[in-house]
Symmetry: C2
Subunit: 148 residues, 2 copies
């Protein structure tokens, strides 16, 4: 999905809800999709401020929450600063399905990956425990290829 398409989708959803497409929402959305990796609210805030210096951090949060509730971004937490929420635009290669993350302890880069084996892990647990597994969060930590 191209960024432009994403914006159109968002416009559509906003209208469908009787909402309004404001300049702030547009700018935040652009900053989000332009951002590599998984930015925090204040990374987006800093980025957006360069375009519109009068924008407020609470607007950034409100917009991100709205995007989250409407399935455009997913919230993520990683063990090192587990307290700071990160936002994962569901617009890249991994749009639709689940995907997983590797975080480099040296450069903090996050690498996304998919892994069919994980479905088997879930299936094995379901069978063993009798539970129904609905979603899975997997984060690997280590040192990325570049940092070795």
């Amino acid at each position: 999905m191209k960024p432009a398409l994403l914006i159109n989708q968002v416009v559509q959803k906003v209208r469908a809800e009787g909402g309004r497409m404001t300049a702030q929402r547009r700018v935040i959305l652009e900053a989000l999709v332009a951002h590599p990796g998984h930015p925090t609210a204040d990374e987006i805030f800093a980025s957006v401020r360069r375009v519109d210096p009068s924008i407020n951090l609470s607007t950034v949060y409100r917009t991100l929450r709205w995007l989250e509730e409407n399935g455009f971004v997913a919230p993520r937490w990683f063990e090192d600063d587990h307290r700071r929420e990160r936002f994962d635009p569901l617009t890249g290669t991994h749009t639709s399905g689940e995907h997983f993350h590797f975080r480099c302890r040296v450069c903090n880069r996050i690498i996304e990956f998919d892994e069919p084996l994980l479905a088997e892990v879930c299936a094995a647990f379901e069978q063993r425990s009798g539970a129904r597994v609905e979603s899975a969060a997997l984060v690997l930590y280590g040192v990325c290829a570049r940092c070795r």
Copy 2:
């Protein structure tokens, strides 16, 4: 590892560091190992308060941090209240190695499990990406057998 043994180990480590084994530390440690699941700081606080009503929450935190730094408990976060830290006493069946968690969305129970397949998931990612994987956090979410 039996709770009593754990306490001895802690005493040993405390002394080795020139620290002091206080009544508070003992009570907190007992509350922690007695607690099923993965308690939060204020669950432990509440539990400890019944034994020693004059104990302070900051003492609970300081003790938990010390236990964490010394490898007696591991910090955990789960997606629903991701902001509240939970403490995992490394004293049960899964003491030494990594283990993983399933969290029931209905009763919030946490089930621990181990899964050899996960080593393969890591190996596959290492090979594909050139990264070195040092640890993995996997949490499954769904509905447990009891709640279905």
